[in-house]
């Protein structure tokens, strides 16, 4: 793990609201270049909000978000995407009436379309299923394939940082392993920085270099992945069916 002085992504004291309801109550998170960072927490803790706040929807009402040394707190969402942050959003949000190929092309919006071929090849090598299905409509894919498409679409923008929101949601255990293996490969081989939101705390913390635990809009705990996995309160709350 290469530790840089300046983190690639940093959130400082970020507060975000839905109407008047506070969803993030002053969050500090750092993601360094080359890391896999996992954010775990219960339903409604604000994990997905945090991820969307990085993209400015909802916008942080207080605090700063920096990416690669630049303040992105007030940038419009599409401008943030142009800085090579990609995301696979909650619920995948693939374009269901468009083909796999078209989905991937939209993913490449922020790159120069000239060498799309190499990017496609990279996605198809990572997820060979997508190559077989490339002329099928997104909506006709299985859940696992849709997840692969969502990640592949994010990769098409040649990101420096990829935000993944619940990539394991609703998938069979075997597929979860496949997806997580792909994430690890992206990190190790392509040196891609990954920020992962997960409910599947065990898998996420095993994969991640570092982790944050979110409770009720605040970061409650942080530490290395293996460290967090050993903490009794984590085991009780997220790994053993919530029995205390």
């Amino acid at each position: 793990m290469t530790a840089h002085a300046e983190p690639l992504l940093s959130l400082r004291g970020v507060k975000a609201y839905y109407g008047n309801v506070a969803a993030l109550k002053g969050v500090d998170v750092e993601v360094r270049e080359g890391e896999i960072v996992a954010l775990i927490g219960a339903n409604g803790a604000g994990k997905s909000t945090l991820m969307m706040t990085v993209f400015g929807a909802p916008r942080a009402r207080q605090g700063q978000i920096h990416f690669a040394g630049r303040d992105i707190t007030a940038l419009p969402t599409h401008e943030i995407a142009k800085l090579r942050i990609a995301q696979s959003p909650e619920g995948r949000r693939i374009f269901s009436r468009m083909t796999v190929m078209e989905n991937l092309q939209i993913g490449a919006t922020v790159t120069d379309a000239v060498d799309l071929g190499a990017d496609l090849e990279r996605v198809f090598t990572l997820f060979p299923r997508l190559r077989d299905r490339r002329h099928q409509r997104g909506g006709t894919l299985s859940g696992g394939e849709q997840q692969m498409l969502a990640i592949g679409r994010a990769l098409m923008s040649r990101p420096r940082l990829i935000l993944l929101d619940e990539p394991s949601l609703g998938l069979a255990p075997l597929l979860v392993q496949q997806i997580f293996a792909a994430i690890r490969a992206l990190n190790e081989r392509d040196k891609l920085t990954v920020f992962l939101v997960e409910q599947n705390a065990y898998h996420a913390l095993k994969l991640a270099h570092r982790g944050y635990v979110m409770v009720n809009g605040l970061i409650a705990l942080q530490g290395s992945g293996s460290e967090l996995l050993r903490r009794p309160e984590i085991r009780a709350a997220y790994l053993e069916g919530g029995v205390r």
């Binding site: 599409h78 468009m98 190929m101 092309q105 939209i106």
Partner: protein, 440 residues
């Protein structure tokens, strides 16, 4: 063939009878006052009460029998076609649909030759092609970008009035005014686009509906410029490269040594609108393969995902509105020059609704579907002109039938914008292994 068409269990039959009985009951409730009872003006001027229970009974019985037959056989019939038709037949059907667009185009091209002597049919042809073009234009906004626009007639009006006013005040010819009308309509589109950027679905529909009415009311009330309800008469006709279509020495007919006939101009108008419609179609098809067209479609599917992928949704929406409006403006300019007279009466909400119906019936996003729907709807209207009383009845029945049997439009398939071998940025290995897949 297995006995697909026959009910095999008595319970099926009972369900069908029950369904038919309920349908008959509903029909009775609906028609008992509408058809069963009638009042006429008697000889003394007082109303005379008559009953038509025979007709009522016939209708209820008809509904019963029809529902029974449908419940028993229809589902099986439609189901069994898919099962029994051999692959070769299905392939042939698929190939036929591929040729349908080409056949349609060839037919559209030769219409003036076939029906040269029939002024009525030529006028109808012009009308159909005009609405096809409007449908293509609205299809960009509704079908591709997924922005429900109920005020499309506003851009048609802006185009028509732009042409009429520019031609009248500045004396410019049709061919100079046509692009100007398109540009002005596009501006109107952007003007509408800005306030509705945040709106979607129902809310957007209401605002666009209002926009259509606003434009009409402005045209109606700005008397000094638009002539108000009196409209603008004497709009110049288009010329053939400077040759007017009249009986003069320098007219089109005299120059080419033909006997003068008013049909020349009609045929010329037909080809103008056909060319404009084909241009709209061509531009739409091209745009769909460009990033902007893909962004429109992605916007229709999921706006949040679009933004997160770096698509600027503001410019994407505005270009969709502007592009759709521009083609509406072209069609409007053509309408003005064809009619020679325009007034706000031609630009009511009914027009918007008709164009939207054409797009939706055609299957949103399908170009061929729009052309077919325009032909069917306007042709259907004309067909039933003589049976004026039954026109709306048949129209309503047709709508219900389409909602039930083709809920996604007449041509419901969306053609992918990327196909193998047609786009160059696909790496060679993918193209190669896909070619081997395609049946020879």
């Amino acid at each position: 063939m297995p006995r697909e068409g026959e009910p095999d269990k008595p319970s099926d039959f009972l369900t069908a009878v029950k369904e038919a009985a309920i349908a008959a009951l509903v029909a009775f409730g609906l028609f008992v006052l509408l058809i069963g009872i009638r009042t006429d003006q008697g000889p003394t001027g007082a109303l005379v009460f008559t009953t038509r229970f025979g007709a009522l009974a016939a209708i209820v019985a008809g509904v019963f029998v029809a529902t029974l037959l449908r419940a028993l056989f229809w589902r099986r019939l439609t189901l069994s076609f898919g099962q029994i038709a051999p692959a070769s037949v299905k392939n042939a059907v698929a190939r036929l649909t591929n040729y349908a667009a080409a056949a349609f185009l060839v037919f559209a091209l030769v219409v003036p030759i076939i029906f040269y002597g029939n002024r009525y049919l030529l006028d109808l042809g012009i009308l159909i092609v005009t609405y096809t073009m409007l449908g293509f234009g609205l299809n960009i906004v509704v079908g591709l970008a997924g922005l429900l626009d109920l005020g499309y007639v506003a851009f048609y009006a802006v185009g028509a009035y732009s042409y009429a006013l520019i031609a009248q005040y500045f004396g410019l010819s049709f061919w100079i005014c046509l692009p100007l009308a398109g540009i002005l309509a596009a501006f109107a589109g952007i003007l509408l686009g800005f306030p509705v950027l945040r709106l979607r679905g129902d809310y957007l529909a209401i605002v666009t509906l209002g926009f259509g009415e606003i434009i009409r009311l402005i045209l109606l009330n700005w008397q000094s410029l638009t002539g108000g309800p009196n409209g603008i008469p004497g709009i110049p006709r288009p010329s053939f490269f400077g040759l007017p279509f009249n009986n003069s020495e320098h007219g089109f007919a005299a120059t080419f040594g033909l006997t003068y006939s008013p049909t020349h101009r009609i045929v010329f108008l037909y080809y103008i609108i056909l060319a404009l419609a084909l241009l709209t179609n061509w531009v739409t098809l091209r745009l769909r393969r460009l990033p902007i067209g893909r962004a429109w479609e992605a916007l229709r599917e999921d706006e949040i995902a679009c933004r997160a992928l770096g698509v600027n949704t503001t410019t994407t929406k505005l270009t969709a509105f502007a592009m759709g409006a521009m083609f509406g403006g072209f069609a409007g300019a053509f309408f003005a020059t064809r009619q020679g007279f325009i007034s706000p009466e031609s630009f009511t909400f009914t027009e918007s609704a008709l164009v939207l119906a054409i797009v939706v019936l055609g299957g949103m996003g399908s170009q061929l579907g729009v052309a077919v729907a325009a032909t069917v709807m306007l042709g259907g209207f004309e067909l039933f002109r003589e049976f004026d009383q039954y026109r709306m009845l048949v129209f309503g029945a047709a709508m219900v039938a389409i909602v039930i049997y083709r809920p996604r439009g007449l041509v419901a398939t969306r053609t992918p914008s990327v196909l193998l071998g047609k786009i160059k940025d696909i790496p060679a290995p993918i193209v190669r292994d896909a070619r081997t897949e395609t049946p020879a």
